[in-house]
Symmetry: C2
Subunit: 606 residues, 2 copies
C-alpha cells in the first residue's frame, strides 16, 4: 500500500536506461533553469528602492543608473559563463571550475557558497511568490508561512517525480510571465513616451528621509539590486541535463535568458521610478507599476503569472542542489547517500534535504522575503568570482585559440564580481550576510572532515585478508533469559545451531522469580549453565551490559554474539505490549569491539 | 555522563530493601495524598457561582445551601471509605473493590474512570495553581500554558525521585495553606458576625441574568461544586504507602482530611456569597474573599500557599496513577512495562506517561481551568459509586460483626454518589463530560484487548519443547554484499563460523561496478557463490527483500539468517555518513517467519 501511494505521488519507477530521454530542450530549459533569474524582477527593483528611499523620495532617481550598472555586470557575467559552458560541457558549476583550476579549498568554498545560495533561493522565491498573491488576495497575508511551506512541499513532490516532467509543468507559466510582464513594460513605455497620462502609484506617501544620500547608501542599493542576477549560474551547473549538443544549447539558452532578464529588469525599474513606486510588504514594485500602467486584466495576468513563476522559481534550486550534492558526494566530501538516484532518476535525498531546510528557513524568518534577502546574494557572488577566477587560470593553462581574449573576458568578470561580492558583504553584513559569512567556512570544514573520515574508513576497510575458510573463527553466544518459555527455548536452539559455546544469563531483579526460574531451567536444560547476575536496583540493562563486557573480556579474540529472544506480536499495534530490550542492548554495545547483538525473533501467529 | 546527570536529577538508585523505609507518616500522608482534595477549595466554590450567576446576582444566595449539600455528600463518602480502608488494608482502590465484589468489567470501568480522573486532576490543579499566581502577578496571564507545562515537568522529576521525598517537600506548603486559609476564614467570620465592616468584593458588576433559575441550573451548580470532593479516594488507593498500622493510619488521615476540607469549603463559600464574589479567569473566589476580608500580608500568604499547594496537588495523581497502572498491569490488562519500579523505587513509566498526557491536555485546553473542569468530576463519581456498590456486596458476602450497619452505610454512599454521577454527566455533558463518557468504554475495551493478547501470547509461548541439543537445527546464512572490503570479509568469516551454508548476494544497480565486484570476489573466495540480483530501478531494499523471501521459501523449515555487514564509525557524529541499511531490512522482514536479521558490526578505530 505504501508502495502504491508512492507511485501515485511520484509516478512509476524509471529504469536507468531512460536517462537520455529525460534531457531538456532549450525552451524547456528556460522553464527548468531560468525561473530563478527571471523571477528576481519581482524583488530586485524593490531592494534598490528600499535602500534609496532611506534618503527620501528624491533619491529614487538613482534607481535607473544603479539598474544599468547591474545590467552591465549581468552582461559581463553572461559572456563569462558562456565561455565556461563550452570549456566544461560536462557541467561547469563553480565547484568544478574552481576546484580544477584553483585547487581543492577554493572549490569547496564555491560548493559551500552554492549550497547556501540554492537554499536561500528556495526560501526567497517561495515567500516572494506568496507576497505576489497577497497583492491581490490580501486575506492571505496572515497565512504567509503555511502557504510558503505548502509551496515547498509541492515542489518536493514534483521534483521527486523527475526532471523532465518538472520542466514541462513550468514552461507555460514562464512564458505567460515573460509575455505579460513584457507587454506591461512595452505598454508602460508607450504611455510614458507617446500616449502620456500615466498616474502616480497608489501608496502611502514616501517616507521622510532618515539618512543622507551617502555613497554607502548607493552601494547598499546596488547590493540589494544585485539579487537580480542570482540564478544565472544555474545553467552552467546543469549542462548535462540539456539535449545534445549540450554545450551549444546551454550557451544559447543562457544568452536568451540574460537578454530577457535585462529588458524586464530595466523596464520595471524605469517605470517604477517614473510612477514613484514605494515598495511595501503588501505590494512590490511590479504590482505598483501594474496598477498604475494597466489596472485591468493585464495587471491580474502579470500578478498571477508572477506568483506562479516565483513559486516555481525555487525549482532551479531543486534541480541544482541535488546535482551539486551528488557531485561533491562522489568526490567524498558529502555523505555518499547523496550520489544515489531514486526510483524516478532524480537525486531523492538532495531534494528532500533542500526542501526540509528551506521550510525551516521560511518558518524562522516568518515568511518575510525582505528579511531573507540579506542572506541571499553573498553566496552567488562568491561563486561568480571563484568561477571566473578559475576560468582565468584555465585559459592560462590550456591556451587554445583566442586565449588571451577569453582570459581578458573572464578576468574582467572576476574583477567585477569580486568587487560586487565585497560590496554585498559590507552593505548587508549586519542585516544577515554575517550568517552566510559564518556558514560557508563551517560547511567547508564539514566537507573536509567528511572527506577525511571516508579516507580513513577506506584505508581501514581495504584489507580483506586471505580467502575465508569454514570455522576460521569460533564464536561464543550469550542469551539473556527473562523467563523460561518458547521464546527462550527457540533462542537457545538457534544459538546451539551457530555455536558450541552457549551461556544463559538471568538478571535477578526479583529473588522469588529467580529461584523458580533456576529450578525450571535445571529441569529443562542442565547442559547449559544459567548464570545469575544480581541487580539490587532492579535495573536490567546496566548489569547485563556490564556482565556481557566481562564475558567478552575473558576471551577478547573470539567474537561474542548476544542473542536476544524477542517476541514479535502478530499485529503491529501490539508491539508496545512487549519489551524492545534488544534495541537498548544494541545501542549500549554499539561501539564495543568483538560483540555482535542479534535479535532472535519469535513470531506470534494469533 | 548520562548516568551522573540522571543521578543528579533523580537521586542515587535505591535497593529494593529500602522499600519499607519509604513509608509515609500521617502528617506526611496529608501532604502526599491530601493536596488534591484540599486544593479543590480554590475552584469548587467558583464552579458553583459560575453556574448560579447565569441566573443573575440574586441566585448566588443558593451557593451556601448547595455547598452544605455537597459537604453532606462528602461526609457520607468519607464514612464509606473508612470502611473500605479497614476491609482492604492492602489498597482498597475502586478498582480492587469493584473487581473483587462486582466482577471483572465493573472493576475495569473503575480503573478506566480513575485513570481519566488522575489525568484531569493534574491538568486542573496545575492550571488552577498558575491562575492563583496570576491573581497577584498579572503579567503571567499570557504565559499560562508554558508555566503549567513547567510545573508538570517539575512534578515528574520530583516523583521519579521517589515517594518519601515527594511527601517531605509537600508538607510545609500544605500546612501553610491550611493555616493561612483557616485564619482567613476565621477572621472573615469574626468580621462578619462581630466586628462588622466587610466591604464588597472588588470586581466588575455581576453579569445580568441570561437564564431562569431552573432546577437544572441548580443541579449544574451542584455538579460543578462536586469537584470539591475529588481526591478524597486517593488515600484508600494508597493504604500500603502508610507506616504501620497502615489501615488505622490511613483511616485517621482520611477523617482529618475530610474535616479540614469541609470547614474550608463551607467557609470560603459562605464568605464568597457574603462579599458578592464573581469568579473570573483572573481572580477566583478565594482571591476575592481574601482581598475583601484581609487585603494585606494574609491575602498574599493565602494566595502564595494556594498557588504552591495547587501546583503540588497534582502530585496525588503522580502517586495514584502509577500505582493503579502497576496493579492492572500485574493482572495483564495494561502493558507489563508498568509493573517495573525504577531505580528510585517509583513506578517510572507510569509517572512519565501521566506527565506527558497531562502536558498534552494543558496545551490543548490552553491552560484554562474552567474549560478543563467538565472533564473532571465524572470519573471520580463513577469510581465512588462502583466502590461503594462493591462494598455493599462485600458485606453481604463476608458478614462480619455489625455487617448490616456497615452495609447500610455503604449502601447510602452508593446511592448518593450514583445520583451525583448522573447529575454530573447530564449537567456537564455538552461542556466536555461527553469526552469522558466516550473515553472510559474505549479504555475498557483496550484493557480487554491487551489482556486477550497477553493470554494468547502466554499460550503460544508456553511449550518450551524438549531439552535442546547442539545442532538440533541447521541454519543457512545470506550476506548482502555492496562491495568487497574488510566489512564484507568479516561478515563472511562470521557467517562461516555459524553455518556451513553461506550465500552472498549483490544487488546490481550499476552494471560496471557489478562486473568489477564479480571478478574481485572470484579471486578472493571462489568457494562461496556470489549471486547477482538485477535492479533496473536502482532500488536496493525491495529486490533484496524479494530475493531473501525466495531463498527462505526454498527451505522453509530451516532458519535463514541474513547477516548485514555494518560499518560503525569511531565517532557518533560520523554515523550519518554510513548507510543504516540493516535497519530497513529488519523492518521489512520483521513479520516474516523463519528469518533472523543480524547486523555484523565492523568497527572503525580511527
Amino acid at each position: 500500500m505504501a508502495r502504491s501511494l508512492q507511485h501515485m505521488l511520484l509516478g512509476r519507477p524509471l529504469p536507468t536506461t531512460a536517462m537520455l530521454e529525460e534531457r531538456l530542450t532549450r525552451p524547456r530549459a528556460i522553464g527548468a533553469f531560468g525561473l530563478d533569474a527571471l523571477s528576481s524582477v519581482a524583488y530586485a527593483p524593490d531592494e534598490i528602492l528600499y535602500a534609496l528611499l532611506l534618503a527620501g523620495a528624491a533619491a529614487a532617481r538613482l534607481s535607473l543608473p544603479i539598474a544599468v550598472a547591474i545590467t552591465a555586470l549581468l552582461l559581463i557575467v553572461t559572456v563569462s559563463y558562456r565561455q565556461t559552458i563550452f570549456a566544461y560541457p560536462h557541467g561547469g558549476g563553480s565547484f568544478t571550475v574552481a576546484r580544477e583550476n584553483l585547487g581543492r579549498i577554493p572549490g569547496l568554498v564555491a560548493a559551500a557558497a552554492l549550497m547556501v545560495d540554492y537554499l536561500t533561493v528556495v526560501a526567497v522565491s517561495v515567500t516572494a511568490g506568496v507576497q505576489a498573491i497577497v497583492a491581490f488576495v490580501p486575506a492571505l497575508d496572515t497565512h504567509r508561512v503555511s502557504a510558503s511551506v505548502a509551496g515547498i512541499l509541492l515542489l518536493m513532490v514534483v521534483n521527486l517525480r523527475g526532471i523532465r516532467e518538472a520542466g514541462a509543468i513550468f514552461v507555460l507559466p514562464t512564458y505567460l510571465f515573460i509575455g505579460s510582464l513584457g507587454a506591461l513594460v512595452v505598454w508602460g513605455l508607450l504611455r510614458v513616451t507617446v500616449l502620456g497620462g500615466v498616474p502616480q502609484a497608489v501608496h502611502a506617501a514616501p517616507p521622510p528621509a532618515v539618512e543622507a544620500l551617502t555613497p554607502f547608501l548607493v552601494l547598499h542599493a546596488f547590493a540589494g539590486g544585485c539579487t537580480a542576477m542570482t540564478g544565472i549560474e544555474a545553467i552552467a551547473n546543469g549542462v548535462p541535463a540539456f539535449k545534445r549538443p549540450e554545450a551549444r544549447n546551454a550557451a544559447t539558452t543562457l544568452s536568451i535568458l540574460a537578454g530577457i532578464l535585462a529588458v524586464l529588469f530595466l523596464g520595471v525599474t524605469y517605470l517604477g521610478q517614473h510612477v514613484g513606486a514605494v515598495p511595501t510588504a503588501q505590494a512590490n514594485v511590479v504590482a505598483q507599476v501594474g496598477r498604475a500602467v494597466a489596472d485591468g486584466p493585464l495587471f491580474y495576468l502579470v500578478q498571477l503569472s508572477a506568483a506562479v513563476v516565483l513559486l516555481l522559481a525555487a525549482n532551479t534550486s531543486f534541480n541544482g542542489f541535488p546535482l551539486l550534492a551528488a557531485t561533491i558526494a562522489r568526490d567524498g566530501y558529502f555523505p555518499h547517500q547523496f550520489t544515489k538516484r531514486g526510483q524516478r532518476l532524480a537525486y531523492s535525498n538532495g531534494i528532500i534535504v533542500i526542501g526540509a531546510l528551506a521550510i525551516a528557513l521560511v518558518v524562522v524568518f516568518r515568511g518575510s522575503t525582505h528579511a531573507l534577502i540579506p542572506l541571499f546574494a553573498v553566496g552567488v557572488f562568491l561563486c561568480f568570482t571563484l568561477s571566473q577566477a578559475g576560468m582565468v587560470r584555465h585559459w592560462r593553462r590550456t591556451r587554445g585559440p583566442w586565449w588571451r581574449l577569453k582570459l581578458a573576458v573572464n578576468g574582467i568578470g572576476a574583477l567585477a564580481t569580486g568587487l560586487a561580492t565585497m560590496v554585498v558583504v559590507v552593505a548587508k553584513f549586519a542585516a544577515g550576510a554575517w550568517l552566510v559569512v559564518l556558514l560557508v567556512p563551517l560547511l567547508v570544514l564539514n566537507f573536509l572532515a567528511i572527506h577525511a573520515h571516508y579516507q580513513r574508513a577506506r584505508e581501514e576497510l581495504a584489507n580483506v585478508g586471505p580467502s575465508p575458510e569454514p570455522h576460521d573463527v569460533r564464536h561464543r553466544t550469550l542469551i539473556p533469559v527473562h523467563k523460561l518459555n518458547r521464546a527462550t527455548a527457540e533462542a537457545v536452539r538457534y544459538a546451539l545451531s551457530a555455536s558450541d559455546s552457549v551461556i544463559a544469563v538471568h538478571i535477578d531483579d526479583d529473588g522469588d522469580e529467580t529461584r523458580q526460574l533456576q529450578r525450571a531451567w535445571q529441569a529443562w536444560c542442565p547442559s547449559i549453565p544459567l548464570r545469575i547476575v544480581p541487580s539490587p536496583y532492579r535495573e536490567v540493562l546496566d548489569p547485563l551490559v556490564d556482565y556481557i563486557l566481562r564475558v567478552q573480556a575473558e576471551e577478547p579474540r573470539q567474537p561474542l554474539t548476544v542473542m536476544v529472544p524477542e517476541v514479535i506480536p502478530h499485529r503491529w499495534w501490539e508491539e508496545p505490549l512487549h519489551n524492545q530490550s534488544a534495541f537498548g542492548l544494541e545501542l549500549a554495545l554499539r561501539y564495543k569491539d568483538g560483540i555482535v547483538v542479534t535479535t532472535v525473533p519469535i513470531r506470534l501467529h494469533r
